[in-house]
Amino acid sequence: MDDKDVGNKYDRQVRLWSPSGQKCLSNSSICLINANTTASETLKNLVLPGVGRITIIDNSRKVTPNDLASSFFLSDSSSDHTRAGRLANTLSALNPDVEILVEQRSLSQLLFIPSYWSEFSCVIVSQFLENADHERLLSDILWRINVCLIEVNSIGFYATLRIKYREQEIVETHDNNTEDLRLDFPWPELQGHIDSINLDELDDQSFSNVPYSIILTKVYQRLHKRTGKRPTPSAVRKFIQSELRRNGEETNLDEASNRAILVLKDSREIPESLTRIFEEGENNDGSADSPFWPLVKALYFFYHKHGLLPLSGVLPDMESDTEQYIALTKLYRDKFEADKKEIKEIFEDQYGGTVSDSYLTTFVKNCKFMRVHRGSRESFKASLLTEESENEDPQRLSNLNIYVGFLALKSFYYEYHRLPSVSDCSELRATAISLLCHYQSVRNFPDGLEKVLDEICRARGSELHNICALIGGIAGQEVIKVITNQYVTLDNCMSFDGIKAQGGTWRI
């Protein structure tokens, strides 16, 4: 965090996504289609943290009593009678840094201007578009230019959120496991440092200040020499207790014992997500404006050559004295810098690219936990229902039923141009059946779907404010993750059950 932001109105959030994330936010441009309650709750969570610009497309719809009943930001004090106009007014007051525009043209006009959409970082559709053609056209356009589309819906106690994003490369996943001690593969400088410390010669005071990573590496190496195998945590703990303990007060030994499990961590292993990125990287030349894919290739070259990833350089706090700990920090930082330099050289020699130092630093530090998401445009995947029915997790099936319920609701809306009421239960069921037949997945109606459809009809097409606010919170958060390209975006759909307070997520 830059010190110029200290104590300003973004202080509490910049601590989560740093000034670089905040800059992404303030440079972003968001488009929102359909200004209902869920939409206004979503936008509130984007205006407050300070996105750059918001464009609202609402086809000049007027404020209805239903809107007033559930939305805080459509209050009837202003003279503007369009939903979009009112929403822009009230939201602007929340944060003067954000520019809010009302699009006068209708969606059907804009769908014929593909270039219109390229300025947006993210497009949110709340509730349903007028018809299936609009839905298809919009998703085609955004898919082609790789702009993220988020569809968010709420009715009664239920809500869904679907992300359609062709591809996203996330480097800053903020994974909690970036610490990399290399107990099993110390590099020569670290080994030299470890060898220079002779535990037997140290007086009690200095002994109790040896950082636990050094203790663990020494124990690891001694046990490994004896057995020729990677030692078990219990063997490590036993060794510490019987061969190293002096007076029982050494807190560094307590730390080492408590973290003995770290000896099982094989530094050569990489997560499956990274294996897949490497595989993909072989054939992906990426785009000219991002060094991501060429860097993946350089990283793969590095990994292939050394059998290890570059060191993250992140060191946890350890019981020690200043001198020993700082010496260790320096070793880890130097190794990180050396690995980073090597990646840079591979990158420049073989791929002839240029990359900023800050991007490179972030890339190397986080490379182990990077994610690449490949989205889809499909609304549904037939195998999901079969999988969940066999899974025998009633809550997951119930959440999937809610998602299917909303698909049925959408079909109903496209057909009748209204939302179902209590008297429409049988029509909605029929819609659901034909939908499921379309996906050829189901021999019989999934357990519990009927109840979900009845609960949907019970709402008589109305939005409950709490459920709108909740799914609007999640939608806002996902937009922020997409724009900052930090943390891990939902991949790629979810439903929320407000009766049981349970969410379920799937990949379609």
């Binding site: 706090d317 109305s462 939005e463 909740l470 307070a501």
Partner: protein, 414 residues
């Protein structure tokens, strides 16, 4: 029919497939209009909660908050503007919501929660807490449990909490379900740094900052309290910490970090508050109207990796110092010694060196040298026959060093 009634009333108008069969629309609407809700805290969560309640057709709301508005609140506390900085959060929030939602009446209290007595809290149907400090939440928890114990009135407490992308909601029915204190064993202890690390062997920027905060400031400015809201004080503290860090070759002391450490700042964003507040109010709405069942005990939310949103059961902790005023029935072997019995109780209820007594008489304590440790329990306390077993004639009480208390009803079996 007023505006906000439209959306909530269409749900209340009929039963759904999950609704209690006893439910009637009249009941739901009537309970909703009678309900009196207390919102504790008008900060990030509180602003959302007040809005959500008002738009859920609750009309009678009171709100307590002792804080005033700061600039760094504005990224999420959407009822406040820059011109409100310095004013009472409770008052500004209440006024704002009442102005937007016509039917709602919100009474604001610019007070500490401790300013009010039992009779004040007894007036409410339900209490929602949106606070960030544990002490205040524990205090409210104890209040509703005491009301349940001494007045036999159950006031449900819904507690919301957030930190960064994570949050939780607890639905607590005093004496019936786990109380806030019961959950406390899940809360990680706050990190504190040993004084000798601060004084002589710092390793982290945090150590340098805490050194300046805890040791150097009081030494240099004895008598002048550090004010984290005074930019000059913050600057001085930062320079002190930085100097210390340079002296020891430690990197990473920034002004932002200095402020974070000395104010114990928890990162906060609008979206997480929105999710957690809405979940709290959704449970409040269901509880009051009975239009759908409530979730099980607690809900957990994490938005760092995808979206994790799950509710789960949580059981009462026997011997909870606040709500554990029930008697535990346990059965032990009839030849158990007093010492083994004491150890068994200690482990079963996770007590720290408890004293065990009955009728004011000591049975066993871990510190003193009780001579009866090796004797059989049945020879030390009176038991009477019950079928083929023996039942203790007295209720035994175990109290540990932390004040945690367990009441025991003991049966001996062969």
């Amino acid at each position: 029919m007023s505006n906000t009634e439209l959306s909530t009333y269409s749900i209340l108008e009929s039963s759904g497939p999950f609704t209690d069969p006893e439910y009637t629309p009249e009941f739901g609407k009537d309970e909703l209009s009678k309900a009196k809700i207390l919102v504790v805290g008008a900060g990030g969560l509180g602003c959302e909660i007040l809005k959500d309640l008002a738009l859920s057709s609750f009309t009678d709301i009171e709100c307590i908050d002792m804080d005033t508005i700061e600039l760094s609140n504005l990224n999420r506390q959407f009822l406040f503007r820059e011109s409100d900085v310095g004013k009472s959060k409770a008052k500004v929030a209440a006024k704002f919501v009442s102005r937007v939602v016509k039917d709602v009446k919100i009474v604001a209290h610019f007070n500490r929660i401790q300013d009010f007595d039992t009779d004040f809290y007894r007036r409410f149907t339900l209490i929602i807490c949106g606070l960030d400090n544990i002490e205040a939440r524990s205090w409210i928890n104890k209040m509703v449990v005491d009301i349940a114990l001494h007045h036999e009135e159950l006031i449900p407490l819904i507690d919301g909490g957030t930190e960064g992308f994570q949050g939780s909601v607890k639905l607590m029915i005093p004496t019936i379900t786990a109380c806030f204190e019961c959950y406390m064993k899940l809360v990680p202890k706050q990190t504190t740094y040993p004084l000798c690390t601060l004084a002589s062997t710092p390793r982290l920027p945090e150590h340098c900052i805490e050194w300046a905060h805890q040791l150097e400031w009081p030494r240099v400015y004895s008598g002048k309290k550090f004010d984290p809201d005074d930019p000059e004080d913050v600057e001085t503290m930062y320079m002190m910490s930085l100097k210390r860090a340079r002296q020891f070759g430690i990197d990473g002391v920034t002004k932002s970090k200095t402020l974070g450490v000395v104010k114990n700042i928890i990162p906060a964003i609008a979206s997480t508050n929105a999710v957690i507040a809405a979940a709290c109010c959704n449970e409040a709405f269901k509880f009051v109207t009975s239009c759908n069942p409530n979730m099980v005990d607690s809900m957990y939310y994490n938005g760092e990796v995808g979206v994790v949103l799950a509710s789960d059961e949580y059981h009462k902790v026997p011997g909870c110092p606040v709500c554990g005023n029930t008697v535990e029935e346990i059965t032990v072997r009839d030849d158990i010694t007093v010492k083994d019995f004491a150890r068994y109780i200690k482990e079963k209820y996770e007590l720290i060196e408890p004293d065990i007594f009955y009728q004011e008489k000591d049975l066993y304590n871990f510190k003193g040298n009780m001579k009866n440790g090796e004797r059989r329990l049945r020879d030390e306390v009176a038991f009477e026959r019950e079928g083929s077993n023996w039942r203790c004639q007295y209720e035994l009480i175990a109290v540990d060093r932390g004040g945690k208390q367990v009441r025991l009803d003991i049966t001996l079996e062969q």
